[in-house]
């Protein structure tokens, strides 16, 4: 009885820590949706590209922190690129073509990654110590702790920048009322581009903290977009704290159901959560209009 409970608790903690990475990816949705009313349905692929970029930089013998920063820069550039190529035009024409376009950019990213880095999964080196820490019989590995610290750290930094820099306040103004922001001399397009760059940066960073746990491969992000999407829909638009809670809950449930029902059921909670959320609160992430069209 007691050992079984301990095993479950172990699963929940491991899953919950991974869930904080889902929350970080979902945070990227929140950022671009607030500023520009669109999200990147290829966000998971940005996570994967970020992880590969980090891996390539560290194979080039750069120190860990330099590789991670490089990956974040690549992610920021990719986020900016997705907005410029796939989103801006569709939104200007007031249609939802960006949904399809961002999915296509994501698919393209997967095949590009297969061509550049190959299909097989690779380990992601980290400077963290081997072994695990024990708390009350539950063991936590260093890479898992790094996920928690990294996700919390990045989200806190971005939130602070939004509140305490003029650029951040301007981005909030564009989210609140784009026309009024323009009347204040704020270039709303630049503010939206900035949000996409930050969103891409957090996705790539998520890649570098997930990869040490899951390994790096072109399909590592296959279900990540969906999971992050579920988290974002459940937590809604305004609260990054809500994202963390929803992410932790999803990660934990996922792991537990994989453990109890067999690994084939791991993905089930995310889907069920998404269906329930869309059914019970259709205003969720997107407002009614777009849900109808998807």
């Amino acid at each position: 009885m007691n050992t079984e409970f301990l095993a479950l608790a172990q699963m929940a903690v491991g899953g919950g820590l991974m869930g904080m990475a889902y929350a970080l990816v979902a945070y990227g949705f929140q950022l671009t949706h607030a500023a520009g009313k669109a999200v990147n349905f290829g966000q998971g692929e940005l996570v994967m590209l970020g992880a590969f970029a980090g891996l390539s930089l560290s194979t080039a013998a750069l120190p860990y922190w330099v590789s991670v920063s490089g990956a974040m820069a690549v992610g920021a550039a990719l986020g900016w690129f997705v907005e410029r190529t796939a989103v801006r035009l569709a939104l200007q024409q007031r249609n939802e073509g960006w949904i399809l376009l961002t999915i296509i950019v994501g698919l393209f990213a997967v095949s590009a990654a297969e061509n550049i880095w190959g299909r097989e999964d690779k380990p992601f080196p980290t400077p963290w110590p081997e072994g695990a820490l024990e708390f009350f019989g539950i063991s936590v590995t260093w890479p898992e702790l790094a996920i928690a610290a990294g996700a919390l750290g990045i989200m806190t930094l971005v939130e602070l920048a939004k509140r305490y820099t003029m650029a951040g306040i301007a981005v909030q103004a564009v989210s609140a009322d784009q026309d009024a922001a323009e009347l204040c001399g704020i270039r709303s397009r630049s503010a939206i581009s900035l949000s996409w760059a930050i969103s891409g940066m957090s996705a790539a960073f998520a890649g570098t903290i997930i990869a040490p746990v899951t390994t790096v491969g072109p399909t590592m992000a296959a279900s990540l977009t969906l999971k992050a999407f579920s988290v974002a829909v459940v937590a809604g638009l305004d609260s990054s704290f809500g994202l963390l809670l929803a992410g932790i809950a999803l990660g934990a449930t996922e792991n537990i159901s994989g453990f109890l029902l067999g690994s084939g059921w791991r993905e089930a909670p995310g889907l069920i959560l998404l269906i329930l959320a869309l059914a019970l609160r259709p205003q969720g992430l997107f407002g009614k209009k777009i849900i109808r069209k998807v």
């Binding site: 820099t165 301007a170 026309d179 009024a180 001399g185 270039r187």
Partner: protein, 238 residues
């Protein structure tokens, strides 16, 4: 200072503004008077770059600004206080005011210090905003929000202030207060373009006025003369 020539603008259907020409001289206060749906807001929005004019041009200090986006028009010195206030509801009063000065504040540096002089001046002018500086703008009353919207415009240190129906939805007491603020701006030498439904207060505060009906100017002249015109007063008595 501002010269609008034969401007046509509208939304999905017909033109809502049909060939309007107006002029605002530096240091003057000009009123646009017209009933609901006459096209005042459409005119004002298209000269500020919020909607792209279909025909005609807008010159500001000699430069053609008709094709510029609103943010660039704002940076050249035209500040619109839009109809319905449009304060940034989730942000604080002070953040709203700081955003008014956005183009000249450092994006990452000490922006509060850079704006402290202007803020202090503004809080002296509108003490109520000073008392509520850290309150959410959405929690202000309608009149306070109008003061905030005007304050945000002044923070831009504009060369031309455009006020679109600043009295809309306000109790008579507050309307009086808003017009007091406008006339004190005028005495301070600010150039003002004011759009209003109600003729008498608009004509009392302005030097010149244009009467607008269904997208066209039907009458123009010195405000004092228009105020004595019985046809105007019968049609637009406020």
């Amino acid at each position: 200072m501002l010269k609008v020539e034969n401007l046509c603008a509208g939304y999905s259907g017909d033109d809502a503004v049909r060939g309007i020409s107006i002029e605002v001289a530096e240091g003057s206060c000009v009123a646009l008077v017209g009933a609901n749906g006459a096209g005042k807001s459409t005119l004002v929005k298209s000269l500020c770059g919020l909607i792209v004019p279909r025909r005609g041009s807008v010159f500001f200090c000699g430069e053609n600004i008709s094709a510029l986006p609103a943010s660039e028009v704002a940076r050249r010195g035209i500040s619109l206080c839009p109809e319905g206030r449009h304060v940034f509801v989730p942000l604080s009063v002070e953040e709203n005011l700081l955003l008014g000065a956005y183009p000249r504040l450092p994006s990452f540096g000490r922006f509060r210090r850079a704006a402290s002089g202007d803020l202090q001046h503004l809080y002296e002018m509108f003490p109520r905003l000073g008392e509520r500086r850290s309150q959410q703008a959405g929690s202000l009353s309608g009149g306070e929000q109008q003061m905030l919207a005007i304050g945000r415009v002044l923070m831009a240190r504009p060369r031309l202030v455009v006020l679109d129906e600043p009295s809309m939805g306000l109790a008579p007491m507050l309307v009086k207060e808003v017009f007091k603020a406008i006339s004190s701006l005028r005495t301070a030498g600010m150039t003002i373009l004011l759009s209003e439904q109600f003729a008498n207060s608009a004509l009392a505060v302005s030097d010149r006025a244009y009467i607008i009906e269904r997208g066209s100017v039907v009458l123009e002249g010195a405000s004092a003369a228009l105020a004595k015109n019985p046809a105007v007063m019968a049609a637009y008595l406020g």
